[in-house]
């Protein structure tokens, strides 16, 4: 029954509930699939086969008794950023060595509480710093999609949740957890033809999620459909006393919003997102998206977010600043790898020089610099002001419309090494996605078309704070209109 791996999460959960197949069967099917394709794609860095089958058997027992949660028996992949009890959790950094935490992140616990089955840990950019998965200590993840030029160039799946995106896109799990600090869910989702949503900041607990930039990090899913994404998001999100920035409000029923349509909704199209040098086919796709929403009964309004151009620089100050402090705990003293050398200072230096990759070191240095005496006001403080302005821009715009439609990325997936030499060009990939993080807003990416190279492109819907519902409504309409059914050939 190898086609079990091609099911959507919703279809699989229904099939399990109806006992059309057992959790052990579908779990084994995924383990077989991983066995077959992971060595080429490198999405999983840890496969927890035994644990998965054990969880599956427990699920089958519960299903047999007519019990079970909302994801009972459904096999999922977990981004390595989430701490999973007793299982290696390293954010794909060498500095954490073989660290296996004695605790479970709230997000993953929520999934297990609903009966989900863990297949393993998914590759990512080291500490989520990257847009191509090339910074992982465990090597890059390969995008299952190829250009149609016959050259067979290996492409990146985007990042930092590249392992999550590739695993879902290549049927190595039903859905995956991911995290988004500047676009790390939405960009890889777009690059692999998947759906990804970053909820409102504070919806999903950060407890047990290895921190990159605390004020920007937010967990969310990568899934095959908007409905699957809604289901995953509902379960991943929760109010959590262990995270002081967690929102203490109930999680709505978002799955019902997916098919609700957009009739009467006002959708804003921000003119500042029409950036110089944007490929014509991205522009065309955006217009297509507008047309689809119009047809579905939405009103389209032209809006302005004047501070957009400052978002990327502000992001690349705030995120490294927080990271430089968040990653100070990786000093080799209590866990992970220690490289002893000379005195204490030398041991710190060697441990961190050996343990962190180049991109992480670059960001830690940027972060330390922008917070240092004499530069704080010019960089960090200024960036915080910009951040406030950007949030105000959104507030203003959302008084005239319900959600915004933009492209997810300025390009389709690129090849390995194509941008790795130039960090700034790499950072430009986040240009449409960082604003939602800076303002804490929910944003979804939905696959909408293939470009002329045969690669998927995504459209992004940004909602008001706490209005994931609109993201799912608009996303559902786009998904239906685009009828994106292309699959990568493996």
């Amino acid at each position: 029954m190898s086609d079990l791996t091609k099911l959507t999460l919703k279809a699989a959960v229904d099939g399990l509930k109806n006992k059309d197949f057992s959790s052990r069967e579908i779990t084994q099917a995924f383990l077989d699939r991983i066995e077959t394709v992971n060595k080429d794609l490198n999405a999983y860095i840890v496969v927890t086969g035994e644990k998965a089958l054990g969880m599956a058997d427990q699920s089958d027992a519960r299903i047999a008794k007519g019990e079970g949660g909302r994801l009972e028996g459904a096999p999922l992949g977990i981004k390595d950023l989430f701490c999973t009890q007793g299982i290696k959790s390293t954010a794909c950094s060498a500095i954490l060595g073989d660290f296996a935490p004695p605790y479970e992140s709230t997000v993953t616990q929520n999934l297990w509480d609903q009966g989900a089955v863990m297949l393993g840990k998914l590759n990512m950019d080291e500490f989520a710093m990257g847009s191509s998965n090339e910074t992982s200590h465990y090597g890059p993840v390969v995008n299952p999609w190829k250009r149609n030029d016959g050259a067979n160039t290996k492409l990146t799946p985007g990042g930092s949740s590249g392992g999550s995106a590739t695993a879902v896109a290549s049927d190595m799990c039903l859905a995956a957890t991911a995290s988004d600090t500047g676009g790390s869910i939405r960009q890889p989702a777009a690059f692999t033809g998947m759906v990804g949503i970053k909820p409102t900041y504070g919806r999903a607990s950060r407890y047990g999620m290895i921190a990159f930039a605390s004020s920007l990090d937010q967990a969310g899913p990568i899934a095959k459909t908007v409905e699957d994404a809604a289901l995953m998001t509902e379960i991943m999100c929760s109010a959590d006393d262990k995270d002081s920035t967690s929102l203490h409000i109930p999680v709505p029923n978002w799955t019902k919003d997916v098919g609700a349509g957009v009739k009467g909704m006002k959708i804003g199209v921000p003119r500042e997102y029409r950036v110089d040098g944007m490929p014509a086919e991205i522009e065309k796709l955006w217009e297509q998206g507008v047309a689809w929403l119009k047809e579905a009964g939405a009103e389209i309004v032209d809006v302005s977010l004047p501070h957009t151009k400052y978002a990327l620089p502000a992001y690349y100050i705030v995120a490294p600043a927080e990271a430089s402090s968040n990653l100070a705990r990786y000093d080799g003293m209590r866990y992970g790898d220690r490289h002893t050398s000379g005195d204490l200072i030398e041991t710190y230096e060697t441990t961190r020089a050996d343990g962190f990759g180049t991109e992480v070191q670059r960001r830690l240095m940027i972060g330390a610099y922008v917070l240092s005496a004499g530069y704080y006001d010019a960089y960090y403080l200024q960036a915080q002001k910009v951040r406030k302005r950007i949030a105000m821009d959104f507030d203003e715009v959302f008084s005239t419309c319900d959600a915004l439609l933009t492209p997810t990325c300025p390009s389709a997936a690129f090849g390995f090494g194509e941008k790795a030499g130039n960090p700034v060009e790499m950072y430009l990939n986040d240009i449409f996605t960082v604003t939602a993080n800076l303002a804490g807003l929910p944003a979804i990416s939905v696959p909408a078309a293939l470009d002329t190279q045969g690669l998927p492109l995504g459209l992004q819907v940004i909602g008001k704070a706490l209005d994931e519902a609109s993201c799912f409504k608009v996303g559902g309409v786009l998904e239906k209109a685009a009828a994106f059914s292309h699959k990568p050939t493996l």
């Binding site: 701490c83 262990k242 002081s244």
Partner: protein, 506 residues
């Protein structure tokens, strides 16, 4: 600021004055830490009071302990200080093995408590005012133990994350004695509030002492202008943990600075350590080596917003503070300010005194408590809790004085017996040892007559002195002494005086 005497240190080139400001770290009396649920119990085995948050495990997040916030607010109110309804936690970034996060969570820019002031009493009864700059909450670090192994340092994280209040004074302290008195006063306030146990030996209360020197007149100019430039460069002595050490360290440091300056040197802004063995301070790091702490708002924590009603409620339920108690002791019992201050400074002493004074002559009670009892306790370095004489017993002794059963002098002997024979009732001592005062005038008269007839020369001398107009002839004292001696000290001194006067015709 009554009778505040300038403290002058004379150097080779002239007189110098001292200016000091203190940063006192007071551990909040809380069962759990500032941002985690781990226990704060003292003396636990190393690394046993450590939560995942305290060890800075990946993905762990701080959650503020509301009880600690309440104690900081209570302390702020006790310092007559502004309570800031908006405050914020910042990260102070530096690397050290006993700082697991690689940063200390503190309140840098927006502390929970702003400016306040307290009045401090000196032993000579003079008082002075110290302005409080701010009070903020922060995490303590762990402990590095360097002497267990020649090649390794051991780290104990039990203190890591324990809640501290840092109380920063203005540079209003002008002598080493004042510095100790200021910390004594702070301690009495936090102990009365119950916000810190004040155990200095355990490190619950410790001071960073900032010392600078200046020429007479400079400080007054500073007060006028607020310009720190007119004062000397300061050095900070870290983590001094007893009143005596505070005084010693400040004194040494001031003299060291005078010596440096008078030898033509300049004072480097330094952080120094006090060695209590040698009584010397030595440099730990200079300003050039100072860390750039890269403070920024902790993104894991939201700003702390207090509701005014919550603060008002805390204010309405504060216990009586040492100053209020002192004022009450002065007005209710008619005590002198200094005695009132001594008795009010610590809750247990105040309670003891009030039990002794209840329904009795309060001034007499205050004298007995401060002079005899505290004198005895201080001499043997005992706490009030170890006192061999209970408040009830001491009250009984005072009753015996007041009703004329014994004289004040005999009472001291009885008190000594009460210490010797712990728990014995004063009346039993008097009864057993036959110490009851003799008030029978007939018996006293007989003794007086005997002495007068045996010493005619002395009688003549007294009469002669009286005739010359002396109201209190010197030889009179000799007679009193003889009578008291003959009666074994039991004769009522007033009666002895009256009888002597009439017999000698004074």
């Amino acid at each position: 600021m009554s009778d505040r005497k300038p403290y002058i240190l004379s150097g080779a080139t002239g007189d110098w004055e001292v200016v000091m400001g203190l940063e006192v770290h007071a551990q909040i009396s809380s069962k759990s830490k500032l941002f985690s649920g781990a226990s704060t119990s003292f003396g636990a085995d190393p690394n046993c009071n450590v939560s995942l948050v305290d060890a800075a495990m990946p993905g762990m997040l701080p959650v503020i302990n509301k009880y600690c916030v309440e104690q900081a607010v209570r302390t702020g109110l006790g310092l007559n200080a502004q309570i800031n309804l908006f405050s914020r936690f910042d990260r102070k970034n530096y690397f050290y093995p006993d700082l697991p996060q690689g940063y200390q969570i503190s309140q840098f820019q927006y502390p929970i408590v702003g400016e306040g002031e307290i009045e401090v009493e000196m032993e000579d009864g003079s008082t002075f005012i110290v302005g409080i700059e701010r009070l903020h909450m922060e995490q303590d670090a762990g402990k590095s133990i360097h002497d267990l192994d020649p090649n390794a340092t051991f780290v104990d994280l039990n203190r890591s994350g324990v809640a501290l209040m840092e109380i920063v004074s203005k540079p209003h302290i002008r002598s080493p004695k004042e510095a100790a008195a200021y910390v004594r006063k702070l301690r009495s306030i936090v102990v009365a509030l119950g916000t810190c146990d004040g155990e200095m030996a355990q490190g619950s209360l410790r001071a960073d002492v900032n010392v600078s020197i200046c020429k007479p007149g400079a400080y007054e100019k500073f007060l006028e202008t607020g310009d720190f430039g007119v004062l000397g460069t300061r050095c900070e002595i870290k983590n001094v943990n007893s009143f005596r050490f505070i005084e010693q360290a400040a004194e040494y440091e001031a003299r060291r600075q005078i010596e440096v300056v008078e030898d033509g040197g300049v004072i480097d802004q330094q952080t120094r350590l006090f060695d209590s063995e040698t009584g010397v301070t030595r440099s730990m790091r200079s300003k050039e080596d100072a860390h750039d702490y890269r403070y920024f708002p902790d993104p894991d924590l939201l700003p702390l917003i207090l509701q005014p009603e919550w603060v008002e409620n805390i204010k309405a339920n504060l216990p009586e503070l040492p100053d209020q108690k002192k004022a009450r002791f002065a007005s209710e019992y008619g005590l002198k300010p200094y005695d009132a201050g001594v008795l009010a400074a610590e809750a247990d002493k105040a309670a003891y005194f009030e039990e002794v004074a209840k329904g009795r002559d309060a001034k007499l009670a205050a004298n007995w408590v401060t002079q005899e009892l505290f004198g005895y306790l201080n001499k043997f370095d005992l706490d009030l809790a170890d006192s061999p004489v209970s408040a009830k017993q001491l009250g009984g002794l005072i009753d015996l004085i007041s009703d004329g059963t014994i004289s004040g002098k005999i009472a001291k002997d009885v008190f000594a017996k009460m210490i010797e024979e712990e728990g014995i009732a004063p009346a039993d001592v008097v009864e057993r040892d036959g110490l009851k005062q003799v008030t029978d005038t007939g018996a006293i008269e007989k003794v007086v007559d005997d002495i007068m007839s045996a010493n005619p020369d002395q009688v003549e001398q007294v009469k002669a002195q009286a005739a010359e107009g002396h109201k209190k002839p010197k030889a009179m004292g000799w007679f009193v002494g003889q009578v008291m001696k003959a009666s074994g000290g039991k004769a009522n001194p007033q009666a002895v005086n009256e009888i002597l006067k009439s017999k000698l015709g004074i």
